[in-house]
C-alpha cells in the first residue's frame, strides 16, 4: 500500500531556462579583459578545485586562467582600501551593504574602507544570478572565507616583516599588531609594493556570529546619500557620447508573426536608423520622441493567432495539463485513500491563483555600446552573466567580447532574469554605429515582460477526531513546486505538481510558487481547524514538530495578541505560516470588513521571521515589511487580465498595486539565531500574507475566499 517517499528536487527558477532570447541576429567574434592594481588579492575557490585547475580552467576577468569554482575575490590596495568583488546585484535588497559588513567584519577593517564591486562580468567572478534568496547563504560565507584568508596573508606578511611567528599576532581595525612588542603595521603598509595574488582554498575558519562586530549591526545603506539626492544613476539615467534612443515595434498580440513590412517613410526621416531583422523591428533616433515617430511611420502587417483569455484561465490550465509521470514532481507517502477513510472530518477544495506582474518601478532598460567588435551593455538584470551569454550567443561573439554591467537597479522581485532590453539595445546600437539606450514603457513592461504563473490547486484532506491529520492530497497545476510540501505531519500524503500549457510568458516572482502553495495549504488548514472545532494556531502546532517553525508561529501569535479577546462586528484575525528557502515565517493579520460596502481593510499585520544569524537587522526589517506590503497586492487585488493575446490592463491605472492607503500597521518580529547560518530573506516573508488575510476575512464574514486576488472589487457578499 505505501509507496516510496520521494524527495522533491529543489525547484530552481524553472522558467528562465525555457525562455529563449526574444530576437536572433548575426555577428562575429573577438576578445577582451581587465585590470588589477598593486596590493594583495585573494581568490576564494572551492576546496577541490585547486587540484583541477590545470584541467578545468575557465575564462578570467583579466585573461588569466582561473579555477572554475571561484566565487568571490577581494583586493587590499596600497591605500588600505578593500575592494571585494561579487557577481551579485543590488536591487534594493541591500546586499551591497550586508556583504560589505561581512567583509569588514572578517577582515577586521572599518566598514567605510570596504568597496563592493558588484555585477560586472568583466570584473566580478561568475555568478548564477541574484535569485532564490541565495546571496546570504552562499555569497556571504564565500566572502567571509576570502576575507579570513586575506587577513591571514596580511598577518603572515607582518610576521615576516618582524621575523616572528604569525600565531601571536592580532588583526584589528585595519592593522596587524604584535602584542608582545606593541608594534603594529597598517594593512596599507603591508600591501604596499606587493603584487601578490593567491588562490586559497576557502576553508579558513571564520568568525562565529556571536563574535561579529560589524556584521549583525544596523549599519546604514552604502551610498544612501546618492539615492536621496537623485545622484545615483540607474540604467535609464546613463548617457554615452553620441548616444541614441531606441524603440521597438511590438506585435499587436502574443505570437503574432510579421507578414509585410514597409519602412520607407521612417527611413527617410533624418537622424533615424531603422532595423528590420527577422521579426525584430526597431528604430533609433536622437530622442525617444523621434524614435517613436519613426515606428509610427512604419507599415507592418502581422498574422495573429487566436488565444485564450483570463476569463477561461483556470479551466484552460486544467484542460491543458500535460501527462504526468515525472517522479520528481510527485511525492507519495502512505495511502491517502486509507487516511481519508480513517478521518472523522474530510475536506475537498480548489484554489486558484491569477497571473500577476512584478511592476518594478524602474522598467527594463539597457544601454549598449559597440567598440571594435566588443559589446558593453549596462542593464538592470538579476543575472548579468546569463545576459552576457545570451548576447554572445545571439550576436555570435565570444563571451570575452561582451561585458555586462548592472548599475544598482530600481528593483526586480524576480522579474529581471532575462536580457530582453539588452538584446534590443545591442541590435539597434550595432546598426546605428552609436550607443543606443532602450527604456521600456510601463505598457511594454506590463505586456512583454513575464508574469508570475497562474495556477490551480486542489486539496483533499482528512483529520481524525483528535485533530491529527490523517490524509493530505495536494495537486498544483502550473504555478510551481516551491513550497509544495506540507510542514505538517500527515502520515498519508500525495503531493504532485502538474505542468500545463501556459497561456502567458511566465517566470520567477519573489517566492516563486510558494506564495500560491502557502495560500492553498494555510487556507485549507484553517478550514480543517474549524471542522475539528480547534483554534487555528493550536491545530497547526498540534500537527507540527519542526521547532523553528513552531517558534515563529508562537512569536507572531504572542506579539500580535492571538487569540482574539473580544469579538467586534466585521473584525477577524487570521494566522498562517511555513518554511521555505531556509527561512521560517508566520504571519497574523487583522481585517475589518464593512458589512454594507464589502470593503476589506487590513488593519494590522505581525510577521515573525527567522533566517538564522541576522547580518543587518535594519535591512532585514525593511525586507520583511516590504515583502508583507508587496504580498498584500497579490492577496487582495493584483491580477493581469488578458484576452486573445493582449494584456487588457497594462497600466497602473488598470492594475492596482498597494499604495499608502492600503498599508496597515505592520510589525516585524525578527528571531536572531546566532547559532545558525544566515539564510536569505528576500522571499519567504511574503508567503504568509495572503492566507493570513484570507483566514481573517473568513473569521470576520464566514466567507472563504479561495481565489487570488481575493477582493479585487471588495467582498461581493459580505456576511457580517
Amino acid at each position: 500500500m505505501s509507496g516510496p517517499s520521494i524527495k522533491f528536487e529543489p525547484e530552481s527558477e524553472r522558467y528562465e531556462f525555457r525562455a529563449g532570447p526574444m530576437h536572433h541576429f548575426d555577428l562575429a567574434r573577438r576578445d577582451f579583459f581587465k585590470f588589477l592594481g598593486a596590493g594583495i588579492a585573494v581568490f576564494a575557490v572551492a576546496k577541490d578545485s585547486l587540484a583541477k585547475q590545470e584541467t578545468a580552467p575557465t575564462r578570467g576577468f583579466h585573461q588569466e586562467e582561473l579555477p572554475k569554482d571561484i566565487t568571490a575575490w577581494l583586493h587590499v590596495g596600497e591605500d588600505g582600501g578593500v575592494t571585494a568583488f561579487t557577481g551579485k546585484v543590488e536591487i534594493g535588497q541591500n546586499i551591497r551593504t550586508a556583504l560589505a559588513q561581512t567583509v569588514a567584519d572578517e577582515l577586521r577593517v572599518p566598514f567605510e574602507s570596504v568597496t563592493m564591486v558588484t555585477a560586472d562580468t568583466a570584473l566580478t567572478p561568475f555568478d548564477f544570478g541574484t535569485v532564490g534568496s541565495r546571496s546570504m547563504p552562499t555569497m556571504s560565507p564565500q566572502l567571509r572565507r576570502v576575507s579570513a584568508a586575506a587577513r591571514d596573508l596580511l598577518v603572515g606578511a607582518a610576521a615576516k616583516e618582524w621575523n616572528v611567528a604569525a600565531e601571536g599576532l592580532t588583526a584589528a581595525d585595519g592593522k596587524v599588531t604584535n602584542p608582545a612588542t606593541g608594534r603594529s603595521l597598517r594593512y596599507a603598509e603591508l600591501a604596499r609594493g606587493k603584487t601578490l595574488a593567491q588562490n586559497l582554498p576557502a576553508e579558513d575558519p571564520v568568525t562565529p556570529a556571536n563574535q561579529w562586530k560589524i556584521a549583525g549591526k544596523p549599519i546604514p545603506k552604502k551610498d544612501g546619500r546618492a539615492f536621496v539626492t537623485g545622484k545615483h544613476q540607474y540604467t535609464p539615467d546613463l548617457q554615452r557620447p553620441g548616444m541614441l534612443h531606441g524603440k521597438v515595434l511590438r506585435p499587436p498580440s502574443f505570437g503574432a508573426t510579421l507578414t509585410s513590412f514597409d519602412a520607407k517613410a521612417a527611413q527617410a526621416m533624418s537622424g533615424v536608423v531603422v532595423v528590420h531583422d527577422g521579426d525584430f523591428i526597431g528604430a533609433a533616433a536622437a530622442n525617444e520622441r523621434d524614435a517613436s515617430k519613426a515606428l509610427e511611420a512604419i507599415h507592418a502587417e502581422w498574422k495573429e493567432v487566436r488565444q485564450t483569455s483570463s476569463k477561461e484561465l483556470y479551466s484552460y490550465l486544467k484542460q491543458n495539463a500535460k501527462a504526468s509521470g515525472n517522479e520528481r514532481s510527485r511525492r507519495i507517502k502512505g495511502s491517502v485513500e486509507d487516511g481519508l477513510s480513517a478521518a472523522a472530518h474530510r475536506l475537498d477544495a480548489t484554489y486558484t491563483i491569477a497571473f500577476i506582474a512584478h511592476a518594478p518601478l524602474e522598467p527594463r532598460a539597457a544601454l549598449a555600446e559597440w567598440s571594435d567588435g566588443k559589446l558593453t551593455v549596462w542593464t538592470g538584470s538579476q543575472r548579468p552573466f546569463a545576459v552576457r551569454d545570451e548576447l554572445a550567443n545571439v550576436f555570435h561573439v565570444s563571451e570575452n567580447n561582451v561585458r555586462v554591467i548592472v548599475p544598482d537597479t530600481g528593483a526586480a522581485y524576480g522579474g529581471k532574469h532575462t536580457g530582453d532590453a539588452a538584446l534590443e539595445a545591442a541590435r539597434l546600437a550595432r546598426a546605428a554605429g552609436h550607443p543606443v539606450k532602450v527604456v521600456w514603457t510601463r505598457e511594454e513592461e506590463f505586456t512583454w515582460a513575464y508574469f508570475r504563473p497562474a495556477g490551480v490547486i486542489e486539496i483533499k484532506s482528512g483529520i481524525a477526531a483528535d485533530g491529527m491529520l490523517t490524509a493530505w492530497e495536494f495537486h498544483n497545476y502550473n504555478s510551481g513546486m516551491s513550497g509544495i510540501e506540507t510542514p505538517y505531519a500527515a502520515p498519508n500524503q500525495h503531493i504532485e505538481f502538474h505542468a500545463t500549457e501556459c497561456p502567458l510568458r511566465s517566470g520567477s516572482y519573489r517566492g516563486l510558487a510558494a506564495t500560491a502553495n502557502f495560500f492553498a495549504r494555510e487556507s485549507h488548514m484553517d478550514d480543517l481547524a474549524r471542522a475539528g472545532q480547534a483554534d487555528p494556531l493550536e491545530f497547526r502546532l498540534k500537527n507540527l514538530s519542526e521547532p523553528r517553525l513552531r517558534a515563529v508561529f508562537e512569536a507572531a501569535a504572542k506579539s500580535f495578541g492571538w487569540p482574539r479577546k473580544n469579538i467586534q462586528e466585521g473584525q477577524g484575525f487570521g494566522i498562517a505560516g511555513g518554511l521555505e528557502k531556509g527561512g521560517y515565517v508566520a504571519t497574523c493579520a487583522e481585517v475589518a470588513v464593512d458589512g454594507t460596502s464589502g470593503a476589506v481593510r487590513v488593519v494590522r499585520i505581525t510577521t515573525a521571521f527567522e533566517c538564522g544569524a541576522i547580518v543587518n537587522p535594519d535591512g532585514l526589517r525593511n525586507q520583511v515589511i516590504g515583502a508583507n506590503i508587496q504580498g498584500l497586492g497579490g492577496a487582495l487585488f493584483e491580477a493581469i487580465e488578458f484576452e486573445n493575446g493582449r494584456i487588457t490592463n497594462p497600466r497602473f491605472s488598470g492594475y492596482r498595486v498597494p499604495r499608502f492607503r492600503d498599508v496597515p500597521e505592520i510589525e516585524a518580529v525578527l528571531l536572531d539565531r546566532k547559532d545558525l547560518p544566515s539564510a536569505g530573506a528576500g522571499e519567504t516573508p511574503i508567503m504568509g500574507v495572503a492566507p493570513a488575510v484570507g483566514n481573517a476575512i473568513f473569521e470576520a464574514t464566514g466567507t472563504r475566499l479561495r481565489s487570488l486576488p481575493m477582493v479585487p472589487q471588495g467582498l461581493p457578499a459580505a456576511k457580517t
Partner: protein, 159 residues
Amino acid sequence: MAKPIQLEINGKRYTVQCDPETPLLSALRDELGLTGTKYGCGEGQCGACTVLLSGTPRRSCQIPVSAAAAKPITTIEGLEKDGRLHPVQQAFLDAEAFQCAYCTSGMILSSVGLLSTNPNPSSADIVQSLQGNICRCGTHPRILGAVHQAAKAMRERAR
C-alpha cells in the same frame, strides 16, 4: 517642430530646443541631464517623475515643456543647499526610507510640497498627499515616519 524654450530650474535658467509638446520629464532627463527625476509610468499614476512647479508637486510626465516655461521648477537636484541636505532628504536618509530607491525622488518632492503648505501634517494628511506615489518595495511605513520627522525638524528650525 523644435523651438527654444526657457526654463527656470532650481534657480538657474536653461534653454532647451525641443518640441513644445515634449513632456517636461523628457526635457529634464534627456535635454538637461537632470536624471534624478524618474520615468515610472507616463500616465501620472506613479509619482516617480514628481517635481515642484511654482512650489506645487506635479507629474512632469504629464506637463508639456511649453506649459512649464517661465515657472520656477524644483527637482531633486535642487534641494541640497551648500552640501546640506534638505530636511526631508535628511529624514529619508536617517530613517532609511527606501529600498531600491527608484521612487525616492518623487516621494521626497511630494513631501516637500506637502510640508510647504502644511507644516504639521497628520498621518492621514501624509497618506493623502503620497497616495499618488507608488513604492513597489513596500517602504511606506518608513516614508510616513520620515515625513513626520522632517516636519518636526523643519518646525524646530523655523522657531
